[in-house]
């Protein structure tokens, strides 16, 4: 009886998850297609498209670029976000409200607008499209998130712990390095990995601001123009897999903090 009453809920949940994950599941399944086209019928499991992926030097180079841009831009965004949060958390909220508003504002601006603005500005100062410019774009979009994650961890208790360190003779720098940063380590890592995931997936900014060297999503997009291929599915699955791994890692880091 109880099971029957729950049936609509279970059906609804199944439908909702199918709506969200079915497309990705199809993408993943057909990356193992043992045939030339990622369309039904499924002709059996094969890793040949993953072989092709690894053999594609352009894709591999793009992956390297993605990692480079992701790591460096996320490091910069995390560090800047943390320092901003550290400064704001130790001042009266009323006095930093405006600065906070401007720090968080980019989160509501479309990537396209940010990319256009950067394109225009770098053009004016005579800096050409490049991975560096893409990385700067990614810092712009990820900084608000990194700031918010760090800020949420810097509450009154954290302030008291820092006060305790200073009371015992630590100067500001010692309190920061010996107490604040080690205590915020999970939040800093989480912030880094979330930023990396977003950078790793990001297309619009990378597309508009890069030229010859470019990132994975842009290369996948250009491959798409020459038609469907299970190799594309393999590339997509790979990108998706990395993202999921990082999200799980973040969940683990922040989850541990919550339970302790």
């Amino acid at each position: 009886m109880r099971g029957l009453r729950q049936l609509p809920a279970i059906l609804y949940m199944t439908a909702a998850f199918a709506f969200i994950f079915l497309p990705v599941a199809m993408l993943v399944i057909y990356s193992f297609q043992n045939g030339p086209l990622p369309v039904p019928p499924f002709k059996g499991v094969s890793l040949r498209w993953y072989d092709a992926l690894l053999a594609d030097r352009k894709l591999m180079a793009a992956m390297g670029n993605s990692v480079l841009v992701g790591v460096l831009s996320s490091l910069a965004a995390t560090m800047l976000g943390f320092l901003a949060a550290y400064a704001m958390a130790r001042r009266p909220p009323r006095r930093v409200a405006l600065a906070q508003f401007f720090l968080m504002a980019p989160i509501s601006v479309s990537y396209l607008i940010i990319a256009l603005g950067l394109l225009f500005t770098f053009n004016l100062v005579g800096v050409g499209k490049s991975l560096l410019v893409v990385g700067i774009g990614h810092v712009v979009i990820n900084l608000p998130l990194c700031f918010a994650i760090c800020y949420s961890q810097l509450g009154e208790h954290q302030a008291n712990v820092e006060r305790a360190a200073q009371d015992l003779g630590a100067n500001d720098l010692q309190a920061l390095i010996l107490v604040t940063v080690p205590m915020l380590w999970p939040a800093l890592l989480a912030s880094f990995f979330i930023a990396f995931t977003l950078s790793w997936d990001e297309f619009v900014i990378a597309f508009l601001l890069s030229k010859y060297d470019t990132t994975m999503p842009v290369v996948i997009w250009s491959m798409l123009r020459s038609g469907l291929s299970p190799k594309l599915n393999a590339a997509g699955t790979f990108v998706f897999g990395i993202s999921i791994l990082l999200v799980l890692l973040v969940e683990l880091l922040l989850g541990r903090k919550r339970t302790s």
Binding site: H157, N160, V161, R163, A164, A165, Q166, D167, L168, G169, A170, N171, Q174, L178, V179, P182, M183, W185, S260
Partner: protein, 356 residues
């Protein structure tokens, strides 16, 4: 009092239009266990924070050991604080927590660890050095916070409601231990609490605070028995307050007209002035147990009775129209009844005349 160690002179703190501390003068002697007692919002924690250097006063000064420390940061003051939420370093071992202050003072590692272990032993955590903070109970964390603060051998130890989060039994136990540790070290303790029983059980000197001002200051017994202000009389334990008018003054003796009759009491007040007369429930006696020199307070009608083992806790009405409510503690061997009239007596020296 022994040599003065901490001197607060006209200490003031305002936040905009709101005054947290309204000009306090206070001298704390070396080796004293001082408790700042008051309700929340009385300014007691703000005073502690200003002694520790965490809050900058808007006026007045803080002197410790004769030196003006008003503008010094916490690190440069000879104080150490035990925080209300303990504020331990969760990523360090218990030993590293306790040794942190010594590390900041560049004490070598072996010596640091030795002194940390010694301090842990003093607070009853012998052998806990290698544990993590997350492995400790609330009471144990409290002890680590205490050990961490006393490890740097401060001249003044500041305790900000350190026992607030502990359950009653543990709180009683920690109160005793705080006193034991304070006597052993001889360090000056300044302890903030809103719990008047806690204050009485640990303090050498209680400073009663209200609305940013000192209401009364002295040894617990004196403050309880002869409070200096109306607030101190009602905040410390239960009390009966009766309105009165000074009918005659002769030196330190006052004749006060009260609803319970004319009383001859010790005190200072202006002739004809309105005063409050305070008498504790346990200092009002029925005829059977009244001391010889007790004066009559007339009789009262019992309207509520609860037996509490050591006494009957009773509420009674008295005065011309029964408009005066009294709280009484009648002896346990008595067999009072609701509705009964009881004759009441009190010794004049137990009755306090309060004019503020």
């Amino acid at each position: 009092m022994t040599d003065p160690l901490v001197q607060l002179v006209g200490l003031t703190k305002s936040y905009g239009a709101m005054t947290a501390v309204a000009g306090i003068d206070l001298v704390i002697g070396k080796g004293e266990f001082v408790v700042l007692l008051g309700p929340s919002g009385s300014g007691k924690t703000t005073v502690l924070s200003m002694i520790g250097g965490f809050v900058e006063p808007t006026g007045g000064s803080v002197r410790i050991g004769g030196e003006d420390v008003t503008s010094l940061p916490p690190a440069k003051r000879p104080t150490a604080t035990v925080f209300q939420d303990y504020a331990l370093f969760p990523h360090m071992s218990v030993r590293a927590n306790v040794g942190f202050g010594l590390y900041m003072r560049k004490v070598a590692k072996a010596e640091r660890n030795r002194r940390a272990d010694e301090t842990l032993k003093l607070v009853g955590l012998d052998g806990f050095g290698d544990r993590g903070i997350h492995q400790l109970s609330g009471g144990q964390r409290q002890r680590v916070a205490l050990a961490r603060a006393i490890a740097v051998n401060p001249a003044v130890l500041l305790l900000d409601e350190p026992l607030g989060a502990l359950d009653l039994a543990l709180r009683r136990q920690m109160q005793e231990e705080l006193v034991r540790i304070q006597k052993r070290l001889g360090t000056t303790f300044v302890h903030v609490t809103h719990d008047q029983e806690e204050a009485m059980s640990i303090a050498d000197t209680i400073v009663v605070m209200n609305r940013g001002l000192v209401e009364d200051m002295g040894v617990p017994a004196r403050i309880y028995r002869r409070p200096a202000s109306l607030f101190a009389a009602t905040f410390m334990g239960e009390n009966n307050l009766l309105p009165g008018r000074v009918a005659a003054v002769s030196g330190d003796a006052l004749t006060v007209e009260t609803p319970l009759g004319r009383l001859l009491l010790a005190g200072k007040a202006d002739l004809g002035g309105a005063v409050q007369v305070a008498v504790r429930p346990e200092q009002i006696y029925p005829a059977a147990t009244a001391p010889e020199n007790a004066a009559s307070l007339g009789s009262a009608r019992v309207c509520e009775l609860v037996f509490q083992g050591t006494h009957w806790r009773a509420r009674a009405k008295t005065g011309a129209d029964g408009e005066i409510a009294l709280l009484l503690r009648l002896p346990p061997e008595m067999q009072p009844a609701v509705g009964a009239e009881v004759a009441l007596f009190a010794r004049p020296e137990d009755i306090v005349v309060l004019s503020r």
